[in-house]
Symmetry: D2
Subunit: 257 residues, 4 copies
């Protein structure tokens, strides 16, 4: 018999489940779902501040309407009479370099920039300027900056407020802001940090590896996709032509919490 | 130009996002991720008690180790050098009738049973007995009862405690318990409500349609799948033979919160 | 050690591959790809006539332009920077009840109808009339009849010519034609057999189980999806809005073989 | 109204379908399925010799038993009660760098090698030696050489016979063979061209871009996956533990054509 392969995620015994070292039933009602996500992925429970930030990151990504390709492909698949999970899977398959992928790429850029800052003992400003110049020179893309709809993304503003409150406005957030300034200075253009860039800098502060960025975005977006797939299944005709441009919001507005 | 098609999920305007009537940025840091899931799917915010129950349901389903087919297919796909989202999609595609699907089927059964109770003015016990007899007669399956590993699932116990505390031990939970008793009585076998059955009764209490059961399970399980896919990618060799039986937990144990 | 599980598809030994009883290397260059598909699925090689029909069925389904949901979802996923196989998987997930699924449903209807004919000793006409009346009475759908674009599908015409030439115009094809006549008679409407219906009747003649209909359609359509995904990747910009209505063919026309 | 987007794959008009310039109904019964695949992907019909080679390539990849991850993930998903297409999609998602992906990587290597040969005016032998030395120096991988089961793959032998017969033993095949010799010479090890390597060299000869390699492998393997999924669905119990090692072939053997 071959050597058993090893896992550190979950231990299953009769009437006992251990996740990342904790009995699962003891976590129920003691930690939030967002905390359990953090626990599963990082292997440890978040601090109160990290928990607050994690909730905020996940809520901020929950949906972006009908135009993202993940929504369109999930709805298109749903309209063929697919099972619910097939429609969600098509949505999941749409989260790639050009949709959601900016988080991962921005995390890589920030990680390199902060490493350089530490090694070279320079300021955020100096590193950011060098970086922007270099990316412009090779006509590269600045992942996490600018948005096709929002010029001043309210989600970024809110996330950065919480970062300040929770003490997470540290190296990576500062670097992200320095890059925003450097872009303005170098190009004269206002290309503000978008929600992907904000999340990227916060996931760096929380010490998540960039390889997990896409998965975290998917975790956050699956509930939104679920709402769209259910709406498609319960209110629309099968096989309709789903226009990516000609649609209208008819839900409620102006509610406050 | 054709009439625009309608959606009630999310309104996207420049620098403004409205989800289910609320400005998204105002929800960040005010509601938990679990609340935002509830909001997206049900279209309204949960009460404090519903929120507590929703968190508990989601935490209870976060992972069940390496043996469920969703974990095995996600890891198998990951071992080929797949992108992260492709591995997660394969996991999502594994949530069907025989894996996770008991929630939906149990919800349907409980819904019918409670309807019957209301119509016929009978007790839970009478309806449950009739139901178990009828299902046994046609050699049907009692979705949500019994488990191949757990005889007394600690997650069920915990979830039902919270249901009592939050005032959600109502018609559906009572019916689920009555069916458990009726099985014992009819067959002499102890076939306790499993975690799927418990969640089914609670989702009925929360008034979710059964068509959403699979999606809710997927939302809850995606973080667990993420942990497994990341472990596979970062600690295992590509193309290894992934034995579904010969594995060992080497993580921590006995941590307390 | 548990009992090994059994398979009858392919035997793999060092330097030797046996598929459905035949050494694979001996099949290469002796049988066509369509024959090898038939062999894999049915477990035996086709007769010369069945082979001819199988080639025709597969060629007839190879593509239907950019509007089917499988094409749109594959292209939408491709436009996010997905891997090629993720885009194809999204296409595969779109083949369901309302897209491609008419083949399976029509096969089931024809199978029942021909069984009834045999049992009751009646003519195709009698059975077809009864069937159409009954389906109309319960406002059911006649899978395999009518098309949103084609009133007289040239693929159906061609496939039925080949059926006649190869001696496969038998019970199921006759039943399919009788149902077409019965619709005309009962409703006064011309609702001709579409390509799905024609394929359904031919797969019945070839004695394929209806459970394989969707898979056969997917096998036939994957090359078309491949052409679309490659075109999307090599000629279009990422994240474009893919209109399902506002597109134009700019390829060649009028070529003859 | 926006400018329509352009496609060159298929034109759909009422009662008329044009694929790559040809009326589809005129192709049915005139060309084989393999030819129609070639037509869809390359945009033109193959020569008689290219057609013969295309059939051979597709037949050679039709299946490789139950151990490839694509088979295992498709069967695992099927065992949960999934729809047929969901199981196939999970198989498709498994075709990546370490499974099937050797074709693409080998095509890239051969393309660079043949370019170098042309530019530098050297012999295959010289280029191959340099290449093997360089890859060994950086501990790189030689995609398309060696196999975990086969030391002398009968499919490679057969494919190269056909290449010779059809006049396709040209630059790329010669380079592939020269690399095989160079490996032997440099390392003393026999690491023969495997079926992926053989197919890679032949797809180069047929002038397919390497970006299509994975898709062509998927087209060829989907029928094999179909056979496995159907066997799983029709002969096995749901949710069984699918051992990747403990299985046995119980089909026929020794059939000849």
């Amino acid at each position: 018999m071959a050597e058993p392969w090893k896992t550190s995620v979950t231990k299953v015994e009769p009437n006992k489940l251990t996740v990342r070292g904790y009995p699962l039933d003891q976590l129920i009602n003691k930690i939030s779902f967002a905390d359990s996500i953090y626990l599963m992925i990082k292997g440890e429970l978040p601090s109160a501040e990290a928990s607050q930030l994690m909730e905020a990151i996940l809520v901020s990504s929950i949906d972006h309407g009908v135009t993202p390709p993940s929504t369109l492909s999930a709805r298109t698949v749903a309209s063929t009479g697919a099972t619910f999970n097939a429609a969600l899977a098509a949505g999941v398959l749409s989260v790639n370099e050009h949709h959601g992928g900016a988080i991962e790429n921005c995390m890589k850029m920030l990680t390199r920039a902060v490493e350089q800052k530490r090694e070279e003992g320079k300021s955020e400003q100096e590193i950011a300027e060098k970086l922007v110049k270099e990316i412009r020179a090779r006509k590269g893309k600045l992942a996490g900056y600018g948005h096709r709809v929002h010029t001043n993304d309210p989600r970024t503003t809110r996330l950065y407020e919480i970062a300040r409150e929770t003490g997470f406005e540290r190296e990576y957030v500062k670097m992200a802001l320095a890059i925003q300034d450097a872009i303005q200075q170098e190009t004269g253009k206002n290309l503000p940090i978008n929600v992907d860039g904000a999340i990227a800098s916060l996931l760096c502060e929380l010490d998540f590896p960039s390889a997990l960025a896409n998965a975290i975005f998917i975790i956050a977006r699956i509930p939104g996709l679920t709402a769209h797939v259910y709406e498609e299944m319960s209110t629309q005709k099968p096989m309709r032509r789903i226009s990516p441009t000609n649609h209208e919001y008819e839900g409620e507005e102006g509610k406050t919490i």
